[in-house]
Every structure is written in C-alpha cells, then in structure tokens.
Symmetry: C2
C-alpha cells in the first residue's frame, strides 16, 4: 500500500514515519510506497525497503494537492498546519494554509476520483486529519463530552473546526473515507524549549530530566489534557486502520488523554528523577500565559474514542517513562 504523509517534517510526522517504517505494514497490508511531503524538506525514510519520495511543497498552492492526489495514495495523513500562535498573528496566512490548503487537498482527492481518463479502479482513499482541542473555547463543562459544540477562540481552532466539517461532508458524499482526530496537548514534546504558550507543560519535565533549568509560568493547580508523542502516533495508526463505518457520519473524535495538573506533573517528575530534578524548576508567574491557559480545555470524557479502541497514557509516570525511553536512551540526568 501507498501512504502519503503531509506535514511529514514535523515532530509527529517524523515519529509516524519512523513507526510505519519499523512496522512495515498498516492494518495487515505491507507498505510498499511512502510519499513524505512538507513545506520544509522531509528527511528520506531511513531503512525503508519500498519506494520512497520526499517532496518540498506548499499545500496552499492548488497544484500541490492535485499532484499529491494524482499519486493515488491509499492512506493520506494530513498533519500539515501552521500553529495557533502564527495563525493568530497572520490572519491571511492561517486561512491560506490551514483552511485553503485543507480544502485544496480534499477537493483534489474528489477530482482525482472523478477523472474520466483515470486508471481502472475508482479512487477513494482513507484520509486521517489531525484536528485539535483548540476547536473548543471556554467556558467549558468540567469534562468536555463527545457532543460539546465547537466554539473556538482562535483562528487556528476555527480553521481546524472548518476542516472537520469539510472532512465529514466529503466522507458522507463518498469522495473519501475520512476521520478527524482531535489531539490533546502533546507532552513531553521533544526538542528545544519553544515560545508556544503551551511549551512549559513539556519544558518543566524535559529540561530537568537532562539536568537543565526550566521556567514554570503558571500555578501548580492549572489542569490540562495530555498525550505522549507515542500515544499520538498510536492514535494515527489506529485511525489509519479502524473500520470507519462504525463512526457513521460523525467523523471527528476527541482523542483520549490524561487530565493532570502541573502539580501532578511535578510529583511524577519527583518520583522518577528525584528532588534534584524538581529543584531545577523555577517559578516565574506570567500573567499573559496564565490568561491564555485559563481559556484552554482541562478535561474530557472521550467515551466514543475509547469505545473505538483509541488508547491513552494511563499515568504521568508513563508519559515521562516513554520520553526517557524514546528520547534519552533510557537514561535520566544531565
């Protein structure tokens, strides 16, 4: 089978690629071809025996989507997006990439299926779209259920919610078989500290685990919704193979996650890395970040996704352990 990953150079895209190459199959079918596309050059998949292509392309140009669909991939992972902060800072760029880019892709798939001069069989790929809990806006219930409305408070959340609606309608009309998965905040995000408002949730664990200081800008009682990178890749694999008829036409799902406070994160760090690691967290209250984070979802009842077999991290200790295994070769300390 041929798998296309759009947004393959991002953190989740790279981990998904690695996992697909390691497994060699998806849903019992051998992976014979991989196409990796991103606006920055994706790395060639290491150790992949099949046909591999890497493309440096901009999805907001309509011809990009046409070219990608012409390859008739069986499964399309659409992970590409500009992030929340940038979509808020640059209104037009956010709509061009997150909305128009997604619509071009869906429309190109439809057009490929309508081609009169097309190969023998009809074309109706699986499309897995990464949405976000940013489709929800405060105020929230204590736990957000599967039928809570999307009233986003960012342009990014708006663009993701529109992508979800298009995905459901294109699926219902039979143009592809789509599923949208709303990812929790990924923690521990590997790499360097970044300026995303949510960065501290990862920073306060990732940096002390290698003996570095980290800044905590909010109160320890702040609660949020998390999944490890390993769980996120698990969601994507399951979304790529699950029988989507089980979803009816409600194709967008809150992924399961772990609801935890910053204080619980810190206690977990203490259990696994000791007081010395916790002492590296410096509290520097930041009103702006506190205000932003106050508007974020804290907890979900992700019943549908759990019933459909999506699996979350059970404890924060598991989240930290996964990071130590996957990123630090099993070794804690500076």
């Amino acid at each position: 089978m041929h798998i296309l990953i759009i947004g393959a150079a991002g953190m989740v895209g790279r981990k998904l690629t690695d996992k697909l190459v390691a497994e060699g199959h998806l849903g019992g079918k051998a992976i014979t071809q991989l196409t990796l596309a991103d606006v920055v050059a994706p790395a060639a998949p290491e150790g992949f025996p099949g046909k591999a292509e890497t493309l440096t392309v901009d999805l907001s140009a309509p011809e990009t989507a046409t070219r990608l669909a012409a390859g008739r991939p069986d499964v399309i992972y659409h992970l590409a997006a500009i992030v929340s902060g940038e979509a808020e800072a640059d209104f037009e760029k956010g709509y061009r990439i997150n909305l128009d880019g997604t619509r071009h892709l869906f429309e190109a798939i439809r057009q490929e299926g309508l081609r009169k001069d097309a190969p023998d069989q009809p074309y109706k790929p699986r499309v897995v779209f990464t949405s976000s809990i940013a489709v929800f806006g405060a105020p929230f219930p204590d736990k957000i259920g599967d039928e809570f409305f999307t009233a986003p408070l960012t342009s990014y959340g708006t663009q993701k919610a529109i992508g979800e609606l298009l995905l459901s309608d294109y699926s219902r009309r039979g143009f592809f078989d789509g599923i949208g998965i709303r990812l929790p905040t990924i923690c521990i995000r590997p790499g360097k500290p970044n300026k995303a408002a949510s960065g501290f949730f990862s920073n306060i664990l990732r940096e002390p685990l290698v003996g570095q200081e980290a800044v905590l800008p909010v109160s320890p009682d702040v609660r949020h919704w998390f999944a490890s990178p390993r769980s996120a890749v698990g969601f994507l694999l399951h979304a790529g193979t699950l029988d989507l008829a089980r979803l009816g036409w409600r194709r967008n799902l809150n992924m399961p996650g772990l609801s935890a406070t910053v204080g619980e994160e810190i206690e977990s760090l203490r259990r696994l890395a000791g007081d010395k690691a916790v002492a590296l967290i410096r509290t520097e209250p930041d009103e702006t970040i506190t205000r932003i984070v106050d508007g974020w979802a804290q907890d979900f009842d992700a019943r549908r996704a759990l019933e459909l077999g999506f699996k979350a991290d059970a404890t924060f200790d598991d989240i930290i352990r996964a990071h130590v295994e996957d990123e630090l070769g099993g070794r804690i300390g500076g």
Copy 2:
C-alpha cells in the same frame, strides 16, 4: 443609516424589506438608504422615501462582495443561499454560493475596513447571517440545547456551519460585528406548494385555508420546530439592533420556535377553519419524505436566545392567525 439586504428577493428578504420600510428606522436610527441585492432582480422597495438601489448580482463572484462592501452599509443582512435540496444535488454550486459567497462577503468587509484610501471613519458594520437548524444532524437529544454540536447531515448544513465559524472568528478579530441566527422551519410559508421535503408542513395549512386540497406524506405524530414568517422577521430586526457584546464570541444562536406535531397543526387548523378545511388534507404516505424528516430536529431549548430577547410564536393558532392576517387579508375559505 444604510441597510444592505443580500438575498432580498427571497420570501424572508421581501418581508424584511417591507417591515423596514414600514418602520422607517432600526434601533432608533432612521433608515436613509436601502440596498437590495439578489441573484434574481429584487423589487424596488415600495413607498421608501430614502435612497434605494436594487442590484441583480451573483455573490459567488468575488467582485460582487467588494462592490457591496464599498457602499459601507451600516447593517448587512446576509440571507442569500441556495437551498438544501439544490446544495445536495449540485455539490459544487452549493459550496460556491453558500460557502465561497459567504466568505467573499466577510473578506470584502475586512478588506474595506483595511483600505488605506478609505473615508475618515473605520468600517465595522453589523452583519446578520441567517443560518439554519440544518447545522444539526441526528441523533439528537429530546431537546437540542445551546451547546449541542453541529454535525450536519447535508452539504447545506455543512456550509451554514462553516459560515457560522467564519462569522464568529471575523467578529472576534474585530472585522465586523456579527450574529448568526439559526432559523426554525418557516411555517406557514406563503406562495405555491414547492418540492422541498419540508413543504408539506406549510401546504397542509395554507392550501385548506383557501379551499384547496393538500397532501400529507408523513404520520401525524411527526414533530418539528417552527416559526412564522412574522417571527422570522422579528428575529432579524432584533438581531440588527441587539447589543452583541452580550453574546461574547459565541455568535451563533438557535432561534426560539414552537415544537409541534403534524397532528397539532391539524387540530389548530380545525379550531380556526373547521372540519371542512381539515377534510381537504389527503394522507398519502411517502417513505422517502418520512425518512428525510426522521433525521430532522424536533425540539430545542433555545434559552440563550430567549434570554437575549428573541420572541417565538406561542401557539400554532398564532402561526395560522398571522398567516390569515398577513397573506389572506383576514379571510379564511376558498
């Protein structure tokens, strides 16, 4: 003040125009200019003393929206849409008019506000967008609340739900001050019987009231959500004047309505027009229509809209009386 009505030639557009002309003001401000736009030629507003312009234009052409926004109307009523059945039959036309047309309009307003060579004052009009209960898809709770999610089962409902998301985001970003109102099924719809699946709800009252036969294709226990044309115009006037800061950024509201069964409609007809009128209703069960109607919302708890001062019809007798007064000159019978 200058009011623009897009979709002015439709039933609701004509009634809104008549009402605005009769009142002469909106929210205490004199109406000095009316622009009526539609894809079919709107009638000139009768008896309007101010400046009036009628435009026969297609909103799916981007230059149309630019032209409409250049007139800097203070209030814009965006009622234009192709209906559910047509949007389902012609996928591309539905998206072109209901989605692209709406987005062109919102974007043209934003661009007008950004113009460097613009008149002295900034431009930030009120935008009233008519959405629909078609943004919801079965299965429903017994009463749909204000936070129930939009999972439409038609392309029309999808396009309206996307328009709502855009409206909220453009409002939040400060480009205009928008409100989306989800209209119940309008009953009694004046005019001739049409082929809309919902037509029978009106037909079985309107036709017998003038001594004509009508066909009932569903069981009398079918329940649905209604508003009279008079109430719909009332919603639009209130949406044009209400302080929208009271809505926060949740700018799309279920309008209040009347939940009633077909049997209750018929008993109301019997009270006001007698057994002779009811005898004109011929039952001809239609499986297709029954199946479509089974997927429609039946009842709402429209608390937010009621608290914000939107007013619904109290009884089906009121709905029939409004029709007799407004369309039949007070006279029942053939």
